[in-house]
Symmetry: C2
Subunit: 498 residues, 2 copies
């Protein structure tokens, strides 16, 4: 069985997956309201088809045969066989009856979660969450693991990462990040945000975001930006990587920062090796590494002072008269304002990880059996008090706020925080390798940064594991130190901490 | 084998076809420029899949079994079995090697046609056209026919229609339509079109077209309008029927009339019976009948005087100051101006059919062997002189102008003219059944007309043949008489003919 036959078969699956991604993209951005049920049917058919084609026994046989002669394969082919085998194993280990039960429970849990959140009544959701946890434990058993059943779940989103390693890293991070926030809140040097209280015309925001996207290197000939309720990035091919944003007249920065964030994801995808087209290698190495790309562009670049020294004049002309007398320092202060809050998706850069660590600890407890589902609200609220000093008034603002569990997704949350850690880690190496980076950013030049990311991160796609990419790019073992140095230095200065 | 199994399998094919249609729609309206080759690959994979699934031997066996017990099926199921069998027979009669050769020749012919048209050099295209004709003759042999090989080709677009019948109808039509045009050109009552020579802002045109679409009953909750180079209508489901238009600042009516035309196609599809979703019954009965719906709304309604008596005030406010002193009669005259021209896609309502008849006669001659490919330019030019009194200066303005032959499509052209004839035929019945129609149109009310079309035409989908639908709706045998009465009355009055 030749590698080219395998590539043909995987190419067919990739084409079906591209059609699925387009059906989903269209559903979020342009589909008319009545088309929902029909679209659901189309997605169900194509998803089943994609799964059926990918898990065909011939593919398994081809992969087995090729693994046997891995030494004779070139690097790209060998990586393809490895990654496809990993995906194939995961996809075939779950029997169809289990997948069916999981999907059915998901949809019931989602419906009940919507009601429970509306009524802020965890008791409504509790039995469904119990079933979701039980199914995830069975899923872990089916997939197999060495230490913790949570490892098997984590592996779906962050291949190679273990629960123990995340625990160690988060264990160092949480108390230090918590202590920093406490000091920030006690500081008298709070940023001035009153000037932002104006109406910011949508059309001008849109234009400005497209200008910034172009500047940072997003290729509009191989992508486009549209509007959607929830911003996202999607890809149909390395030549077609699309992002969406959400505009609000009362917030000058949420859409722009959203665009830069999704732009970071899209730059990653646009930078994959075209040789990996129509294969499972054409994707990010992990969700965490993907998130490192979006957050680096959003937070380290987009929320930096040099960036705003460069863009403030352009922003002023985009909003005539609205920013007179506002300095780059004021913008910098306002967009980096630290304000512990109950809701993860509204959290600032400095408090965000703590929202994640809280969820990770509860997820691991549930999956490993140390926490009972009934205890979730109580534990949630206690951790919120411990990490962010906040009292949770009700479950809608607490453990019912996220959609993820209702969708059955366990092991997803930690990748958000891992993304922040990877980003800080990579960024230290970037500042080492590009000593003039901040001068370049202040001049609106991002080519050297993008070239570094292309070479060290983007082009590898899934050919290497996330941690190996970071290790090789930086020469240092990933952990939480770089991130702590980053926030302590940035927010120490901003809030005039001793 | 139960009918529900067949419906499941056909539903799968319909879902794949919906994804194909979305990939094509996106390609025309939003796809970024670099994505072309990737999209081509995705379309090739899904098209092959759709064909493979539809022509699976199990489907053939199911259809055979169900045909055997047709008496036990209800009406909808019986119609489904008949139409699916017809499609299945056509799809399976062409061996894969033939389909492959056809596709290969198509793509070579298309490339050469582009060059030949650019250079206005028929000799370049001639050998390719000869191969296309030869392939179409083989296709007709493979599909089978009773009288003329052209019947087998026509059947793809206009099931049930025969070459002999079209010849008879066009034979009556051509000389009479030609004579009418001669009288029109000789008339001294030529319309005033000078007022139209202005710039008409694009955004206002767009808004106005959406208003008119809403008024005539196009459901924007089950569709949308976008911009594209070539206007078209597409459907992913009865709940998602989309149209496109092309805007030009120098033409106030081309986009609007295009929107009404595509809106007519879309109203047809939006009016199909939802019970036929995800089956081959959910489509127009024929291309001709589809074209009757677009042309009726565009020409009989959109180019009528009552329509403009209603819309002129709204048009005036849409283009402030630009239409002062212009009357509804002037608009009516301008948009119905008759002007024989060399190019089919620019032809007015009154000359259009003659462009089609000329092509039909050449196509039949080529397929039946009475005309040699080398003779095409000469015959084309002679017929253009005979029907429209025009001298063809070069082949780019003559037999090289259309894409259809380079795509291998023979039997498609006549459906455009059949559409005009069906439309006139149906419209006479409508005026009989809705005596107050013109008063309603003048009041901007189109509900009774749409309800008539829904009941008599739209809801049937492909359950009945086009001619049977027209026959049943009107009680009269279809032919060219209604159309001749329509243009003689309309243009006789407009051009003050005796």
């Amino acid at each position: 069985m030749s590698i080219s036959t395998l590539r043909e078969r995987l190419g067919e699956v990739a084409d079906i997956n591209a059609a699925i991604a387009l059906l989903q993209w269209d559903q979020e951005v342009y589909m008319p309201p009545k088309a929902g049920p029909g679209r659901g049917q189309q997605l169900a058919t194509l998803s089943a088809l994609s799964h059926r084609f990918f898990t065909a026994p011939e593919i398994g046989a081809m992969l087995e045969a090729l693994k046997g002669k891995a030494a004779a394969l070139d690097y790209a082919d060998a990586r393809l066989v490895d990654v496809a085998s990993h995906d194939y194993d995961r996809a075939t280990k779950l029997p169809e009856s289990f997948v069916h039960e999981f999907a059915k429970t998901q949809s019931e849990a989602y419906e009940m979660w919507v009601r429970a959140r509306q009524d802020s009544n965890f008791a409504l959701f509790q039995p469904l969450l119990a079933r979701i946890v039980e199914l995830n434990r069975r899923k872990a058993d089916l997939l197999g693991y060495e230490e913790s059943p949570y490892d098997a779940l984590l592996d779906e989103f962050e291949r190679g990462m273990t629960t123990a390693r995340v625990k160690t890293v988060f264990g160092v991070l949480a108390p230090k990040q918590s202590a920093l926030i406490e000091r920030i809140m006690a500081s008298s040097a709070q940023p001035d945000v009153r000037w932002h209280d104006q109406a910011w015309p949508i059309a001008a925001q849109w234009e400005f975001s497209e200008k910034v996207l172009r500047d940072i290197g997003y290729d509009f000939d191989a992508g486009r930006q549209d509007k959607s309720v929830h911003p996202f990035t999607t890809q149909f091919d390395v030549t077609d990587v699309r992002i969406t944003t959400r505009l609000s007249e009362h917030d000058l920065f949420s859409a722009l920062m959203g665009s830069i964030h999704e732009g970071g994801h899209a730059l990653y995808t646009q930078g994959h090796d075209p040789a990996d087209r129509r294969t499972p290698l054409l994707d990010g190495a992990s969700l965490g590494l993907h998130e490192s790309q979006s957050r680096m562009w959003e937070n380290m670049i987009g929320r930096s002072l040099p960036f705003w020294k460069h863009y403030l004049p352009a922003l002023r002309s985009q909003f005539p008269g609205q920013l007179d007398g506002v300095s780059a320092e004021q913008v910098y202060g306002a967009i980096n304002r630290v304000s512990p809050s109950l809701i993860r998706v509204e959290a600032d850069e400095c408090t965000y990880n703590l929202h994640i660590i809280l969820r990770f600890e509860i997820e691991v407890g549930l999956i490993e059996g140390a926490i009972d589902v009934a205890e979730v609200p109580e534990i949630w609220n206690a951790k919120m008090k411990q990490y962010l000093g906040l009292d949770v008034p009700d479950d809608a603002h607490g453990c019912l706020q996220d959609i993820h569990w209702s969708h059955g997704a366990f092991g997803y949350f930690p990748t958000y925080a891992l993304g922040n850690l990877y980003a800080a880690h990579l960024f230290e190496a970037i500042l080492r390798d590009i000593p003039g980076l901040w001068q370049q950013v202040e001049a609106g030049r991002f080519q050297a940064l993008l070239a570094w990311l292309r070479e060290k991160v983007h082009k590898h796609g899934r050919r290497m594991l996330a941690e190996d990419i970071v290790r090789k790019a930086t020469g240092i073992e990933p952990g939480s130190n770089a991130y702590l140095r980053y926030i302590e230095s940035k927010y120490g200065a901003l809030y005039a901490l001793k």
